[in-house]
Structure formats: structure tokens, C-alpha cells
Symmetry: C2
Subunit: 438 residues, 2 copies
Amino acid sequence: MADGTAVHKVVIIGGGFGGMVAAQALDKTPTHVTLIDRRNFHLFQPLLYQVATGGLSPANIAAPLRSVLKKQRNTHVLLGEVTGFDLAAKAVLLKDGHSVPFDSLVVATGSTHHYFGHDEWATRAPGLKTVEDATEIRRRVLLAFERAEREPDPAVKARLLTFVVVGGGPTGVEMAGAISELARLTLSGDFRTFNPAIARVIIVEGQNRVLAGFHPQLSTKAKASLEGMGIEVWLDSHVTAIEPDHVLVKPEGGKGEARRIDTETVVWAAGVKASPLGKMIADAVGGVQVDRAGRVPVNPDCTVANRPDVFVIGDLASHPGKDGKPLPGLAPVAMQQGEYVAGVIVRRIKGETPKGPFSYLDKGSMATIGRAKAVAESMGFRFSGYLAWLAWLFIHILYLARFENRVMVLFQWFWNYITRNRAARLITGLRPPDSRGA
Amino acid sequence: MADGTAVHKVVIIGGGFGGMVAAQALDKTPTHVTLIDRRNFHLFQPLLYQVATGGLSPANIAAPLRSVLKKQRNTHVLLGEVTGFDLAAKAVLLKDGHSVPFDSLVVATGSTHHYFGHDEWATRAPGLKTVEDATEIRRRVLLAFERAEREPDPAVKARLLTFVVVGGGPTGVEMAGAISELARLTLSGDFRTFNPAIARVIIVEGQNRVLAGFHPQLSTKAKASLEGMGIEVWLDSHVTAIEPDHVLVKPEGGKGEARRIDTETVVWAAGVKASPLGKMIADAVGGVQVDRAGRVPVNPDCTVANRPDVFVIGDLASHPGKDGKPLPGLAPVAMQQGEYVAGVIVRRIKGETPKGPFSYLDKGSMATIGRAKAVAESMGFRFSGYLAWLAWLFIHILYLARFENRVMVLFQWFWNYITRNRAARLITGLRPPDSRGA
């Protein structure tokens, strides 16, 4: 690899589920891999809600990219921000002026929050995609309890102790469950002027059930579990305003009167859109239009339009599934695509016959609701309750087991489970404690 | 405790070593305690350098105040910022407009960095007092390595891989040792364009030895240990300029030519001054002048001037030791004072004879230099090397054992020791990765 001129250069942008798996699958192949990311770590996003509620530290669910790829000698990690593509010259342009040449390009920069035209809500209702998002939500949730402790006005106190989660998908359900457990179990006895168990947690969901990606039967079970934990589930409901001290909710369709929820803490779990790099690569290829969620339509082999050397995978791609609908934005889809694309590239280098189109093997999906409560479905089977939670735990540990900090997470989890404690409930960040979240 | 009118009200400001111990010592006494802090956690500052170098997560060395004091039913934790004192009305004033009445007041807000008239250095050379300081230093140190990886100019690369620690006290020695181990052990093999072991780490110390608070023999051993780890120790040297890309160092006395160190990463460990609340309480009492380091001179019983109801302890106080010199700003001093002051208050309430003056029992001091290397002195005995390190580990675990997260820290430590890894080496914070530290 002295100068790498003869070796096939693969540039992967994004060290999430798709990019990381693609890089790992190219180990010990005749390629030189450059993995570019803005962050120096791979983040296990499905557990961010645990960071947002003080159960885990950011380091528990993040693995330094260099550390993961340390022994992969054909792979080079570059911390940098991509600002453009020069596809004619086959190069990726970085913000610091460098240009990185490629023979094959894999774009896997994922998704970010989508406020559906209400970008002003971003500061009032943070979403949950980055470590900073999670520590900011942690700060707001914990500060609300702290402010309630010194608040004499019962109406303001009640407002401070009301938490609204917008969106009833897996992230929304997990966040709501975790806030409820924080209030009922962890903070029990921590305050002197109120019982934290009185905190209201409300999920506002636009569709007629939570976890709409699952079988209706599991949606029903999940709703019952949530309500059993004291969480209010408002279905067929749309948020129409998010103000510093309240939220307005209208019934689906926009008819009927808006209901007002007095709250200062809102978490956004309602939608995602593709990272801006989607439009950038689509424009660079030319003749390609991203869809409404900013995703790049890809060919069955994950390439874009007539560029066999440009792959887009994961949340950034709109890949036609078997039923013609785009594949969902799930970690397993991205991971399987990462593996697949690595295979396509290696076969091409070796001059072997190309692989068939990418096909997603749906092993199932699961969502956790709380302590020993989850729903899962796989290959036509449906589980809920303790068994589903054990399955969820097992799958997550299995994934984390790829990384060095697996032992620590396992231990921290076990410890939290036994003690019902969340030791990472720190209010950090440089804002003064008397300032409001918004 | 229905309305608390008949109960003696103790207000403690600051949940550090002094304030926390004072609060705990007032458990099950006929008092009502209010502990006010700007942060919601007690921080074990001696291990902040581990956070700054990615060895531990902030939550490993922080314990939520409410959690620690949860079962202490006479104690109330208040998150808030003190803006003044109304000693005539016996009340503490908070930023949010509340006023908290007291019968006895304990001020224990500690110290902050001291740049000796060069406040403009604060952004260029952050100190190590808060969780945010530690994650900022971690960000800068790790970013310097990341930028070196993509830097083609060898001079700039060398500058990026040079780390200057200003101050050779315990914090400076620990920081330098940890940065050196990060470079030599943890990051080994992580980069493709350089070997991180070439990183230069320089301690700049104004006195003629490091660890000047220890016996000269231990200073000599510590210097040898540091140099054995490849760290440069510049004694009798004063920093006279800190610029974004270099530092100027002059020999003690200011004579001779300035030497230039090209570096972009400087850590400040050279001095502390008392928190601004020192001057505020001195002014409120009247007739009291804080010393050059901003400390409040206190009576032998830790009270201020003619106010037997106002105590100042820990780093904020200048307490005359047996030899007439002020007691050092160490955690054990603050802790013993916290315990002492609680005793004074309780005896007073019970009408018992007052305690004698506070007297500090010096059980010894220790500083760690690196993996299995430390120096310690206690009761005339001096240790260094592995034995001192084991003693250091034991004492620290003993202290942390007061808090719930003891098991996790122990486990994380053990894990790091075995694997030589530092899993918490995350670059976090909202600045873009291409921006400079300064």
C-alpha cells in the first residue's frame, strides 16, 4: 500500500451502520478503503434514548472508528466534512480543501430530523440522532424536574412535570417509556416538594396506533403496556404548534378543536429526512431527483442512475423493495446493504460475474417499552412482554459485541436493572441552570 | 419538619468535597439542611484528567446530589445560582429571585482557574475544573491527532502532535502522564500517516521541581518517571505568551531569551483562585479582605470575622494552619472542615460547650503519574512506583465507595488497565470538526 496507485480505492462516507459494515466487509480484500466521517466514533443510535434519560453514558454506546478499524490495515479513517463531489475526476471534496480520489464511492450518511416545514421547532423539540441531541434532551428533562422542585405555583409545577413525545414509532415509545421510568423509579424520593411519579408523559401520534410498522396486535399490546406505566397515548393527533410553554394538538384531518398541553419539554420522534448529502450526490450524478424525504432513488444493485461506481445505502437511499415500496430506514437494511455493496465491488475487481440485485432479508423488528417490556416480531412470530425484552436485549448485545465496550455496556445495564438507578443523569452543557430549555 | 420554623436551618452553598461532607454530617441532627449548587452532581475532580483523556466517562466520576442525599430526609437539594447575601435578614439570594433563609450558613464554592492577569489565555489553554473543561480538553487533544492524520506539512504535523501542560503540580503531572499514555499505548496503530508515539508532551513548571508540595525526593522520582515516559519536563520556566500556534517560555526571573514551542494544544494546570462568592461573602460580612487568591480569611473555627453563623470552608477559605501558613487547597482539608463545621453547628444547637479550633490532620498526599506509577507520602513515609499507585487506587476507590457508581468505576478502571484502552475518547460538542480548538 506504499502509494496505492494499483489498488482499487473505495471511499465510504459515513461511519454508521451501513458505512461501518461496508468498511469491515472490505477487510483483507484487494482494496484501499478510506472511511470519512464528521465524527470520530460509530454510534449505536438505537440506544440513544438511554443516554437521553441518564441510563448510559455516551461512551457506552459509541466506539471510536479508529479503534474499531485499527487492525484493518487496508483501511484509513479520515475525520472530515464532505462539501461536494467531483464525479468527473472521481473525487470527494472535503471542507478543509482536501480532495480524496476514489474508484468506488459508497455514500451512507443517513438521516436527520424532519420537522415537516416547521424548522423553527428544532430548538423547542430536539430530536434524537446525535450524542449532543441526547445530552441536550437529558439536560432538559432533568432541569424540568429541578425547576419544579423550587416552583411554588402549582400550575407552573404541573407544566414543568409534563413531557410530550411527538411520534409513536419505536423511538417515541422508547423515550416515553424511559422518561416514565426515570420519574417513577429512578427519581423516587429525590425531591422534597413533589412526588416525581406525578409526572405526565404524553405520546402524540398521527396514525391510529403506535408502532405502526408492526403488526396491529403488537401495537395494541404496546399501547396497553404504555398506559399501564401511566403514559397517555394520544392517537390520530397532530401537533400544530410548539411554543415555549405549550403544545397544540389537533385531531387527524385538522378538523375539530385544538387541545392545549401545557409543557416546557418536548421531544421530537416524528420523522426523519435524508442527510443533505443525498441531494448533493443526486445533483452530481445528474438526472436524479431525491424523493420527498430527501432520499436518493437507487438501482437494484444500490448504484445511482448510470454510475456503477457510485453506491448509496442505508437511510440515504430509496431502494425498491420486493413490493415496490422503498425499504424502511432500519439498521439491518443499512447493514445488509453495506455487506452487499462490498461484495459487488470485490467481484467487480476480481472480474467475477456480478451479484444479483440487493434483497433485504427481514429478520424481524422489535421495540422496547420499558423495564422488561418489549414487542418483537420475526418470521411471522410475535412476542411481547418479558420474552420480547430478553430477545431485544440479546440482539442488541450481539450487535454491540462487535465493539470493544461490549463488556462495559452489559455490566452497566445489568447494574441499572438491579438498582433501578441511572447514574448518568448529569445536567451538562454550558448554559446556566436557570435558563430555559428553549 | 412540617413548616420548619422551629428547626435550625442550615444552608450550604456548594456540593463539592466540603459542602457534601458537611451535608452528610448533618444527617439525623436537629437541623433542616438546604444544599444549593449550580450543578446537579457532586464531581470527583481528582479524576477529571481521566475524562479529559478518554479513560472514564463524566458519569463515572459524578454522583447526582439528589441521589447521594436521597435518604437524608432533613436535607433539601436546590439547583440554583447564588447572586448575593442578605446577612441582616439572614438569607441567601438566588438568581431566579428566590431567597433562602438560614440560621447557619456554610459557603463552600471552591476554586476556579487562575491565569494570573492573562484572562485571554482561558480560551487558548483551558483548565481542568468542570466536566465541560474535561470534555473540551478531550476534544482538543483528540482533534489534534485527527488533524495530524490529514496534514501533509511535516512542520504543521509536528506542531499538532505537541502538547504543552502548564504547571507541574499533581494535576499537571497527571494530565501529562495521561496524554503520553494515550499517545503511546491507546492510540498505537490507530493512524496511517504517523506513529502517535512521536507526540511530544511538555510540562512547563515555574519552580525548580515538579510536585513542589511533596518531599524533594519524590519530586526527583516523579521527574524521572515522567522522563522515562518520554515527557519533557521544563523546570524554572514561565509561560509568557500563549498564541493559537505557539507558546513562549522564559526562564524563571524573566531573564534570558524566550524559547518557542510550536503547539496548538495547551492545558492549564498552573494555578487556581477562589470562586467569586468568596469576595461576595467577605463584602457582605464587611471589614474582611480576601487574599490575593480571592480566599476569605477565617477564624480558627471556620467562621468569618464576627459572624458566628457564617462559615467558609475548603478552597474558598484561607484558614491559618499550625505553622501560620494557610492550609492547602486539598480535598481532605475541605472534607475535614465540612465535618468540623457540622459538629460546631450541632453542639451550638444542643447548647453544648463549643468545639476547639479546627485542626487539619494531614494523612498524606499522593499524585499519580501513569499506569502503575505514582508517588505518595504519609506520616513521614514516602512511597513511589507500583506500591504508591496501589495506595492511590485504594484511597480513591475508598472515597468513591461513598457513592453508588463505585462498582462501575472500579470495573471500568480494571478494564482499561487490562486492555490499555480508553473507550471514552469521543470528540463531542457542537463545533465542526474542521475548526481549531482556539
